[in-house]
């Protein structure tokens, strides 16, 4: 077993003179899963900042009644681009980036199964994103001033038909997402095949890290759920360019069919986005509690169950459309079912912490906040799953509050936990713990201030997507409160960026395994060499590094 740790003397590498063009060429032509993973994550972070700034403008516009920060058309473009970017150009590349960087390391492989397809996936995704943003210049063709899509991130028919959506802005939305989706599917197939075919000796499915398990099921969901969106978008293209009638109600087509197709993709999509959070928590919480994860098989089963159930809940986005009462009942019931496996997960994470030796470093803080906030998000989800309740609050700010609680107070917190946790692995340096704590407290306070009032605004009847409101509605206070959260969120993000950039250059060297962790990615150097492992490891339990560090009490005796 010493093979994992073999410390070979490396021959000294001759440092070539730094050349920008050679570096650029190296990064553009790379097929290394770690570099591609980093490129995915950096792209996602850049798009996160762009879409976050859009949200800032939206909140400034809504801070006071009769706001005049932007005009109505710009506002429509802002919320469309904000939503589309956050889902397709932030959430999806985070899924791909995290699994790219970590899955091969965690299963003891030297690279992904198809390295070149991996590079193809990244580049086609990136240019899909560029295509979407090019709409700001090319949106209304060569003659016009140009404009971005303004049809909302789910682009309901018939608003997207030629008659109501002139110019090319909607076509940019379709093509940009279609192209980026090809990249996501390529990367998902790659993750599945890597997991099934590239595991190191002894890494049975039962011993696979939780992170890899969750990403495997996540990728499975991607290849099942993304093609329906691509199919619907191809139909929309046929409608817009060939005069087809798929969603044209004038000739018998159905606008509701678009909603079905979109949400057959769209609801699994939100689980695709939240699964990386589950994956990160299932790695970070055990390490910082010094206990193996509680109920491992139940955790895997719960994720698989969520993945399965999520394929049959899509029409809970459509209660207000007017479906049959049988449909309403079915989709209410199936949606509530999701609460059971999700509850199992929350309980198991809590049980992992129970009686553990807790280390409250920044990654763990973010995980703890996730547990509280995601629980609230789940509970408002159960409320909205109830048909009659949804009729009352459909398309209100309650819904906006709900899904921002899942995705910001949930997913983004978990992503920060993951980024702090694996930062020493990626950079070989330690981030600044004090700044990390500042980031955590400022960001938590800001998120609570921004998104809790949205729930109350929903109860008070404020609809989604309105660009301003009259002063006599009683919404002033809550809106101002929501906007004031920015005063804490933005400094928090700035501290994070500063911390990451500064620590990557000047941080204290962290050593190979600063957290005293148990999974294989910590068995190699930090940052890992291009070939990952000098000799491919062999594992005998689900915590190979524990076995190595505690030869007198290895896990494989009990598993």
């Amino acid at each position: 077993m010493s093979s994992i740790h073999s410390e070979l003397e490396r021959p000294p590498v001759e440092e070539a003179r730094f050349s920008f063009s050679i570096h650029l060429y190296d990064w553009i032509s790379t097929v290394d899963h770690k570099r591609l993973g980093l490129m995915y994550i950096v792209t996602a972070l850049i798009f996160l900042v762009v879409a976050g700034l859009m949200a800032t403008v939206i909140r400034l516009q809504l801070a006071f009644p009769n706001g005049h920060v932007v005009d109505p058309d710009t506002f429509n473009r802002l919320f469309t681009m904000h939503g589309t970017t956050m889902v397709f150009l932030v959430g999806m590349p985070f899924v791909a980036g995290l699994s790219n960087y970590l899955v091969p390391l965690m299963i003891g492989a030297r690279d992904m199964a198809f390295p070149r397809m991996n590079a193809f996936g990244f580049w086609i995704f990136l240019f899909g994103g560029f295509l979407l943003y090019f709409s700001y210049i090319g949106g209304s063709g060569l003659s016009g001033a140009g404009s971005a899509p303004d049809v909302g991130w789910f682009a309901y028919a018939p608003l997207t038909s030629r008659a109501f959506s002139r110019g090319a802005s909607t076509d940019y939305w379709i093509l940009g997402i279609l192209v980026a989706g090809i990249g996501s599917i390529a990367s998902a197939i790659n993750v599945i095949v890597t997991t099934l075919s590239m595991r190191c000796k002894g890494m049975t499915l039962a011993r696979m890290p939780m992170f890899v398990w969750v990403m495997l099921i996540d990728s499975w969901l991607i290849i099942i759920a993304l093609p329906p969106l691509s199919a619907a978008q191809i139909m929309l293209l046929i409608d817009r360019f060939l005069g087809g009638n798929f969603f044209n109600t004038q000739s018998g087509g159905s606008a509701v069919l678009w909603q079905h197709f979109f949400w057959i993709f769209g609801h699994p999509e939100v689980y695709i986005l939240i699964f990386p959070a589950f994956a990160i928590l299932s790695e970070v919480i055990p390490i910082f509690s010094r206990k193996p994860i509680f109920g491992r098989p139940a955790m895997v089963g719960a994720v698989a169950a969520i993945g399965f159930i999520s394929l049959g809940v899509w029409a809970h986005h459509m209660f207000a459309v007017g479906m049959t009462s049988w449909s309403n009942t079915f989709f209410t019931a199936s949606t509530m079912l999701v609460g059971i496996p999700t509850g199992i997960k929350i309980f198991n994470w809590t049980a992992t912490m129970y009686g553990g030796k807790l280390r409250m470093d920044t990654p763990m803080l973010f995980c703890c906040a996730f547990l509280f906030q995601f629980l609230i998000a789940g509970l408002t989800g159960i409320m909205l799953a109830t048909g009659p309740f949804d009729w009352q609050l459909h398309d209100s700010y309650f819904v906006v509050g709900h899904f921002h609680f899942t995705l910001v107070a949930g997913l983004v917190f978990a992503l920060f936990a993951g980024m702090y946790y694996w930062f020493p692995k990626v950079s070989g340096r330690m981030y600044n713990e004090t700044l990390g704590k500042w980031h955590f407290w400022l960001f938590t306070l800001g998120v609570e201030l921004t998104f809790v009032p949205m729930h109350f605004l929903g109860f008070l009847g404020m609809p989604r997507r309105i660009y301003t409101y009259a002063p006599d509605r009683g919404w002033d206070f809550w809106n101002l409160l929501a906007t004031s959260g920015l005063l804490f969120q933005l400094p928090g993000i700035l501290i994070f960026v500063w911390n990451i950039v500064f620590s990557a250059i000047k941080g204290k060297p962290s050593g190979d395994d600063p957290w005293d962790a148990w999974t294989l990615e910590w068995a190699t150097t930090s940052p890992p060499p291009e070939y990952n492992f000098e000799t491919l490891p062999e594992v005998r339990s689900s915590r190979p590094l524990w076995d190595l560090k505690n030869p007198n009490d290895p896990d494989w005796r009990y598993e």
């Binding site: 290849i223 329906p228 139909m235 409608d239 060939l242 087809g244 009638n245 000739s251």
Partner: protein, 195 residues
């Protein structure tokens, strides 16, 4: 204990990654086709104006027989390749290509008749929209398959040792079987149920 374990771990084999890759490509393609089939089924009989399927569609019996038998000939080709009988392989491979071509030609003639004789285009009615989309999506997959089939034919004709590529030929034949299976669904939905 360690000796037993070492022996057990010596037989560490995992599924071939190419095989897995093709399987999951087919899974994701299936999801894509499913939505187009669902759209077709939802819109059966919903066209407000003619022409309707029962007036203009003829059963593409010959084309279907050709496409389905090409799935058989490609298996014969594969088996010949396994036995390193390259001549037989080329013959069966050529037969597969010709049968696929016949399918594409029949589809082209059918579309020509529909467009010029029956005035059915994508924009005419819901039937036109869904018909050309579903059949066209399938036909485009046949075309992609044909391109790869021809690639194999050309390289083997020009002396490339195709017997070294048994694995890749197998993947191509799986894709071809998938395209054929989709045709059975399309045929049933469009020409049997939808008529």
């Amino acid at each position: 204990m360690d000796a037993v374990l070492a022996e057990k771990q010596a037989e560490w084999t995992l599924p071939d990654r190419g095989t897995m890759g093709v399987i999951f490509l087919i899974v994701t393609e299936t999801a894509l086709f499913t939505i187009f089939v669902v759209a077709y089924v939802v819109y059966i009989g919903k066209s407000l104006t003619g022409p309707y399927p029962k007036d203009v569609l003829d059963l593409p019996i010959l084309a279907s027989i050709c496409l389905l038998s090409s799935s058989v000939t490609i298996v014969f080709a594969e088996n010949s390749l396994k036995k390193h009988r390259i001549g037989m392989f080329k013959l069966w491979w050529l037969a597969t290509i010709l049968l696929g071509l016949e399918f594409l030609v029949s589809t082209g003639m059918e579309w020509h008749k529909l467009i010029y004789q029956d005035n059915l285009t994508v924009s005419t009615n819901l039937f036109g929209t869904t018909f050309y989309s579903l059949v066209g999506l399938h036909a485009s997959h046949v075309i992609v398959g044909m391109a790869f089939l021809m690639l194999v034919m050309f390289v083997s004709l020009f002396g490339f040792p195709i017997e070294t590529q048994e694995r890749r030929v197998k993947f191509l034949s799986w894709y071809w079987h998938f395209v054929d299976a989709v045709w059975i669904v399309v045929f049933t939905v469009v020409y049997v149920i939808g008529r």
